[in-house]
Amino acid sequence: MNRNPRMSKFQPNPRSRSRFQDETDLRSLRSFKTDFSNYLASDTNFLNVAEIMTSYAYGESNNAHEKEIQCDLLTENGGIEIDPTRLSYRERIRWHLQQFCYKTSSHGIPMLGQAPNSLYRAAWVFLLLICAIQFINQAVAVIQKYQKMDKITDIQLKFDTAPFPAITLCNLNPYKDSVIRSHDSISKILGVFKSVMKKAGDSSSEALEEEEETEYDMNGITIQAKRKKRGAGEKGTFEPANSACECDEEDGSNECEERSTEKPSGDNDMCICAFDRQTNDAWPCHRKEQWTNTTCQTCDEHYLCSKKAKKGTKRSELKKEPCICESKGLFCIKHEHAAMVLNLWEYFGDSEDFSEISTEEREALGFGNMTDEVAIVTKAKENIIFAMSALSEEQRILMSQAKHNLIHKCSFNGKPCDIDQDFELVADPTFGNCFVFNHDREIFKSSVRAGPQYGLRVMLFVNASDYLPTSEAVGIRLTIHDKDDFPFPDTFGYSAPTGYISSFGMRMKKMSRLPAPYGDCVEDGATSNYIYKGYAYSTEGCYRTCFQELIIDRCGCSDPRFPSIGGVQPCQVFNKNHRECLEKHTHQIGEIHGSFKCRCQQPCNQTIYTTSYSEAIWPSQALNISLGQCEKEAEECNEEYKENAAMLEVFYEALNFEVLSESEAYGIVKMMADFGGHLGLWSGVSVMTCCEFVCLAFELIYMAIAHHINQQRIRRRENAANEY
């Protein structure tokens, strides 16, 4: 609307030609030139444009006469048009501001300039203020939303050939019992372990005996009854025991005489006796060949059994108890076939072990006054880890189970796998030798379909007869991890029992996180002091690195459960100061506030495998097959493999895998879009409108400076005139 009056009042009608001769026409011509020079680029533009617009789009304006009057108001002295250079300073500023009001592309300000009175102007100022305040509020909210650095987690389900992870298999027994005892420190630890376990077992029975003695002193009549009961229980329970014996072959009785405290020098001097812990009696004794493992139908409370029950015994009372019998079948003892046979020379010869170990060494082992068998076993395992750390890695590998002894059968994707090439040895402090399937990072293995027949199937033989006395459980430890990750079988592994086929169905998840400033994760290869060289960063590895650094800094030796740093020697098993320092600081780190000293974030890229487990009995009774290297009959082979072997299946439950990736929720592009939207909504302002304001500012500054300089010049002339 503010542009129409300029064009309509100068429309060149045919009648207007005659008006140029009059004085009034000259006045209009002067106004025309002045406005033209200020608004349009060319002197001749206006008439033509007005002519064209009149012919095409516009009719004659109704307010032409009024506009001319308004134009006359802008003239001075009635005869001269407005010349900005002749105006005073203040009037010139007002003129410029007025022109800016007409020209600006910001919404609302032209209305302010065209307001007819102060009431309209006040209303428009009020509206402009409201819009400005609303815009500022929205702009602050937009900027705050951008500065929060929010993330969006996108869950995608991809259907692709998922890469098969690395599978680490460990025996639950770290070292062979037949090999490890040759080392002096191990035999010391096992000797102390045995005596402490015996003491823990005896302490419970001593308490009962003390109670009986007290009653003996108090009451005379009851003494007789108690004593009679104890006499009846003098036999106790029988168990088979190995012993050194002297056999007289000239006699026809085939019985031997035991020498309990002596150690047998060979098989010829050894026999098996029925032993009673209560009375320490070992009788009868026969050579090893004359005892046979079998099943008995009945046993009494003293573990004395007979092969066949008496006539007339109820059928429900008949049982099939495992027992060991003399060859003629006259004397039988209840005995689990897989249990270890007691050695009498160890039972009676504990004093020999005591003399070999000094008091300080015993205290360093940390058994103290422990009476709980589970705690004693745990402490003994820890001592073995410390003792084995003194050996070299080659010696430790030789003492643990070899590859072909553990892994008997293996198939992947329905095809047999090469045990030598596909499995790599990794020595673990807790589990000894572990073997990693699919360790090679260059070779890509994948399951083409879901299901057990397209995964890894492996048969493992653990050889339970060669287990250490500190191994509580029989079975396999299995860890599923990425190829670049260290397995950590003691933390992330699963145990699988023998005598079962264990089915591990897994699903894969890929996580992709955003680093700073959005999140707090560690980029690939970001940490330089990682103690597991050649492996990717993980949170568990970071914590272990932090603990190891702390232990080395405070104790002067490294924790043997983790890799060492800078060639520092591991803490010694018999060094009391080392053990106490390690124990103290481990407890400190393990407290609630201890873990805050370690700053361990998640890795930015991570692959997680979730596992579901189910099992079935293996091998079945009907499986008439000679598994592995067993050369006996089928039934005996099945029995042996139930006790010593485990079958494992590791496969993908579903071939699709989840990909969780983080992305920024509110980027800078969206922020600028929202900012522009609010600018356009509340004030119709754009970047070029800001440029207009910048131009206006520059123009006013220029005028102010010019005016100031002019004032100084005038003042200088006045001073010169005064001096003159």
């Binding site: 033509n48 692709d160 009995i617 079945s620 009907a622 008439n624 600028m672 939207g677 754009s686």
Partner: protein
């Protein structure tokens, strides 16, 4: 031609006066050349910035990203269908007496020598067991036909498997179960196939509890594990326990806790899943699952390569067009041909690239947690083991009833772990409305334009077009107009000259006033 371009310039200059686009009026109204150049630069830079932002927004829109919404709902749910199969598919003695080929296979397997008829290696190795299992799959269709048509008792029925059964603390019986044939495991039992049972509470007491028998004396000699396998799935799905099943061993109480997850995904262009719920091919008609699609695709490949269909996969019932791979003397070569395609390491056939089997968009899945305990305990006496109870297989084997129970029975519990279930729903992260809003914001920020401004440009195009059509007929008019303007300009020049004279006279007047203001010289004093 000069008149035409002059007129065109007038049109554009006039447009710059009345357009609502920011910046363009300043180009038209600039009264200095440097000011016009400045505004042109500002407009060009703003347009460049807008184009950059627009490309970024367009890229973001065309990536079709999705948001996943996770909610937790609580409702009474239908109990899932439970399919329980024996790990041994066929009974040993009954199968031997019914089928002569199966009897020959069992005899060949039990002898320690190699068999050219069945391709069994000489030594007792795992390969021998695998080959026997493959032959069992090949013979599965004919054994199934004998089971149902000839009423031969070679598979495990309800009475063979189930000792007792309760659901929701009430007794269930044979009418609640359906028979389901699976090539790998023979006859399976299915519970709640029609969805009649639902759970309103969580926990083992309100689920399915079964005591089942696994008589290992009836096992085939190449069945390596004992127990049952359990598949939990939706009512309208065909179960595949050989792929998705869970083991349960005898001598244990196996507890399967079920949790339900419902997933809804978006199809193209956001994702690559399929919206069809039914799969209809030559050999399979039913609910669409990826495994069913794979097997149908592989069956097509087997028929194309081997000339016969694989009995272990579903196939068309038209027997004249297709023949079974189990056909007498050619079965061994057919088995090798099928094995070549079934093998995962085969170079001839890749199931992922050759089969078009995308994921379905609607997935209802059950997560299962398995835990076990010893069954039965030492102090528990089953009903059958009471004195005076019925006679059973323990009488024949000579062991006690409790020992037989430990070795051959399973307690199975299947229940909902919790009644709330997870619902995952995908929605578009950046819709077309968001795209339009963001583009509008960028346009408003850099150019101050709107839809009305776009219409203004359309009007400009129309004006230019109209001027081009009529500029010839208006040539004389424009020339006359120019002459009038020139004449007016001369008049203006005359007025300007007059004004200059006036200014000159005024200036002289100012100079005279200045002369009068000069201070007179000081007078000299007479000493």
């Amino acid at each position: 031609m000069g008149v035409f371009w002059t007129g065109l310039k007038y049109v554009f200059t006039d447009f710059s006066c009345w357009t609502s686009t920011h910046g363009v009026p300043h180009i038209g109204m600039a009264n200095a050349r440097w000011l016009r150049a400045f505004w042109i630069l500002v407009v060009v830079v703003s347009i460049a910035l807008f184009i950059w932002q627009f490309i970024t927004l367009l890229t973001n829109y065309l990536s079709f990203s999705v948001n996943t919404e996770t909610t937790l709902q609580f409702a009474e749910r239908t109990f899932p269908t439970v399919t329980i199969c024996h790990l041994n598919p066929w009974k040993l003695s009954e199968t031997k007496s019914v089928d002569p080929d199966m009897s020959a296979l069992i005899d060949a397997y039990n002898s320690d020598s190699s068999s050219a008829q069945f391709g069994l290696p000489a030594s007792l190795t795992a390969d021998r067991q695998q080959q026997a299992s493959k032959w069992t799959l090949m013979y599965s269709e004919r054994l199934n036909e004998k089971q149902y048509n000839d009423a031969a008792d070679i598979a495990y029925s309800y009475d063979d498997m189930v000792v007792s059964c309760t659901y929701n603390a009430k007794t269930c019986n044979i009418t609640d179960f359906n028979d389901f044939y699976n090539p790998s495991y023979g006859n399976c039992l299915q519970f709640n196939t029609d969805g009649m049972y639902s759970s309103s509470r969580a926990g083992p007491l309100y689920g399915l509890r079964m005591v089942m028998r696994t008589d290992q004396d009836t096992y085939l000699p190449w069945t390596e594990a004992s127990g049952v396998i359990i598949d939990i799935h939706m009512q309208d799905e065909i179960p595949y326990p050989d792929v998705f099943g869970y083991f349960a061993p005898p001598g244990t109480a196996s507890s399967l806790g079920v949790s339900y997850v419902q997933t809804t995904r978006l199809s193209k262009p956001y994702g690559s899943c399929t919206t069809k719920t039914k799969l209809k091919t030559t050999h399979y008609t039913g609910t669409y699952t990826v495994e069913a699609c794979f097997r149908s695709c592989m069956q097509e490949k087997i028929i194309a390569s081997c000339g016969c269909y694989y009995p272990a996969y579903s196939h068309a019932s038209n027997t004249t067009q297709y023949v079974s791979c189990d056909n007498g003397v050619q079965t061994l070569s057919n088995l090798n041909c099928v094995d070549l395609i079934n093998s995962a390491d085969s170079t001839e056939f890749d199931v992922l690239t050759d089969c078009d089997c995308p994921q379905p968009c609607e997935i209802d899945s059950y997560g299962v947690t398995v835990s076990t305990a010893q069954w039965p305990s030492d102090s528990y006496v089953p009903t059958e083991c009471n004195p005076g109870g019925p006679s059973g297989p323990w009488d024949a084997s000579g062991e006690s009833c409790l020992d037989w129970y430990k070795a051959n029975t399973i307690l199975i519990e299947i229940y909902y772990e919790r009644m709330n279930f997870q619902v995952l729903t995908e929605s578009p992260a950046y819709t077309f409305v968001n795209f339009i809003s963001d583009v509008g914001g960028q346009v408003g920020l850099f150019l101050g334009m709107s839809i009305i401004s776009a219409i203004e440009y359309l009007v400009l195009i129309f004006l230019v077009f109209f001027y081009c059509c009529t500029h010839k007929s208006r040539r004389a008019e424009i020339e006359q107009l120019e002459m009038d303007i020139k004449k007016a300009k001369d008049d203006v020049d005359q007025v300007a000259e007059k004004r200059k004279k006036h200014q000159k006279a005024n200036a002289e007047l100012y100079e005279m006033d200045t002369a009068h203001d000069i201070v007179p010289p000081k007078p000299h004093s007479n000493d």
